[in-house]
Symmetry: C2
């Protein structure tokens, strides 16, 4: 199915040196996709022209005159940079020229501009950001990872609904299982909000597993893990930190003496395969959920391989009607709520 | 300095088969320590007698008639099992016969009974549980890990004070650095409670570093990381799950073929050293803070080596006046608060 992506080529630590090669790879892999390359003419026009010649009628360059920087506050990005590459790319989703937008830029600014331009779906108070984490047999989708702190039970329910649909869309799974992150499996545990959220999720019609704990994320107990943005962010960053720490220790031990260096050399294929299985680049591309449009956040430090994953994920979400399916599910939920009132 | 520990010999997955050998090792290592072995006569009297003969005048057996099970609710453990080994051991701290108590049993019951028998220190609303996590250059102390959900800013400040004193006591560090777990380093980030806690910590006289994020825990950015019990519990369990997942994957890759098995054999010394550095048994022994007595929780699955670490940590805390130092620091803080009012 045809799909057009609007790419903020300026975002992220590496800008066009990553985003444009990733776009080329994406086009080479996906014959039915087109792209809009949004950026400063001086930075990408030449590359965009070359890409347009390589993939005729599938590439368009769109000029922007500003760039949202990592240190810009959401307010500054929104009010003072109305012609930023991020904003222009989101505008193209709003206008319908593109079906999804991808950026490796400033997360807070991306969320703020996307909310402002695209608006949230009816019934959604707070868009969420979902992240994908590896588990032994596949992937766990955790949300929220964004700035949704002080969530209500209803917010957590909405995260559960949106996460469930995200997994349906990206993994083609009928009824993904949903777990509620808590500090114990028993229903009586946790704070008041989480207890109420458990009640709502149990009565939601979702495939609700019940409470899960932190270790369940990497055991893959459920497809989706729901938590507020503070907890999700803390868990994600602690996990990234722990993985880096363990890999650093392993490297130190394997380079300690000439003997261990030799062993490490012999172990190269096994260690490479190990690293591939946990390669965070494969999990790059965090969808913003609850907006009237597909927006995918790439990690700022993504390389071309990682950014390509985010582009593929965005195309998959757009082709499988992520937004429409969330809208329909939320409106059904609201109608049921209304019927009870 | 002389110290006497009261050991709940019945707690944990393995009971006396772990706790008594650990007690023997502890006594062998520490010539100035005595122990009270608390348990069911049928289960430990013989072993206790043998130990008493091996270490004359340093071992006493104290009979209890009940055992708190892992599935007992705190209420049941407190009201219906007044002669449990857990309760009897805590009673000996209350009476002054022992200076610290250690149990690998049910955490909720331990906290409830300890609070009920020992009481909290003046000014402490909520005792906390601190855990010790490895970082590249040492250890990070994180609290709370217990059931303190829905904390106020004042609670988080108290955790900071208690954590700071814990590190002073166990690591003999003058002014341990304290970080506040948040979703960004900027002061404006986070929910209202965390923002207020940041204010309180900045004005507390502690060596307050500011906000830290999840990855800082394993980078060792600060000696102490403060968070509410929900976040701490989630981060701890996710970290345990991730570490298990990574080690399982590494093992799979190293046992995939005869070649990788051979390499793994050659890598045994390096891999063993790697495992030692992250051996969670070394970090066993989570102090309950804010009580009028030293209580240390061992992991339920601890083996004798791990349980010995918890005993050593309890002895160190008692010898260095953990309780008195927290009491003094909290009362100074309260007096300063009063002066402002």
């Amino acid at each position: 199915m045809q799909v057009t992506l609007a790419i903020d080529c300026m975002g992220g630590d590496h800008g066009p040196s990553v985003t444009v090669p990733a776009a080329r790879q994406f086009l080479a892999d996906d014959a039915h996709a087109s792209i809009l390359l949004v950026g400063l003419p001086a930075s990408i026009e030449t590359q965009a022209g070359a890409l347009a010649r390589e993939f005729p009628e599938r590439v368009r360059f769109i000029a922007a005159s500003e760039v949202v920087e990592m240190h810009d506050s959401p307010a500054v990005a929104m009010r003072s940079k109305k012609d930023s590459s991020m904003r222009v790319a989101i505008d193209r989703v709003k206008s319908g020229e593109a079906q999804a937008m991808i950026s490796a830029g400033n997360t807070g600014a991306l969320m703020a501009i996307a909310r402002f331009v695209l608006k949230t779906l009816p019934g959604i108070d707070r868009p969420a950001i979902a992240t994908i984490l590896p588990n032994h047999d596949g992937e766990t989708y955790m949300l929220d990872l964004g700035a949704n702190v002080d969530c209500t039970a209803e917010h957590l329910l909405q995260f559960g609904i949106m996460g469930s649909i995200l997994v349906s869309v990206l993994k083609h799974k009928e009824r993904p299982s949903v777990g509620l992150l808590n500090i114990g499996e028993e229903e009586i545990k946790g704070n008041e909000v989480v207890k109420q959220a458990g009640e709502l999720l149990r009565n939601s019609g979702l495939n609700f597993y019940g409470n899960v704990e932190g270790n369940d994320i990497f055991q893959g107990t459920t497809d989706v893990v729901v938590c507020d943005g503070f907890v999700g962010n803390s868990v994600l960053k602690a996990s990234e930190g722990l993985a880096q720490f363990l890999i650093r220790l392993l490297r130190e031990e394997l380079t300690r003496t000439w003997y261990t260096k030799l062993v490490a050399l012999l172990a190269t294929p096994a260690l490479r395969h190990f690293k591939q299985r946990i390669d965070h680049r494969r999990y790059n591309g965090a969808p913003l959920l609850g907006l009237r449009g597909v927006v995918v956040k790439s990690h700022g430090s993504a390389d071309a391989f990682a950014f390509t994953q985010a582009l593929q994920r965005a195309a998959e979400a757009a082709r499988n009607n992520l937004v429409e399916r969330i809208e329909s599910r939320i409106s059904t939920h609201m109608a049921a709520e209304g019927a009870f009132k």
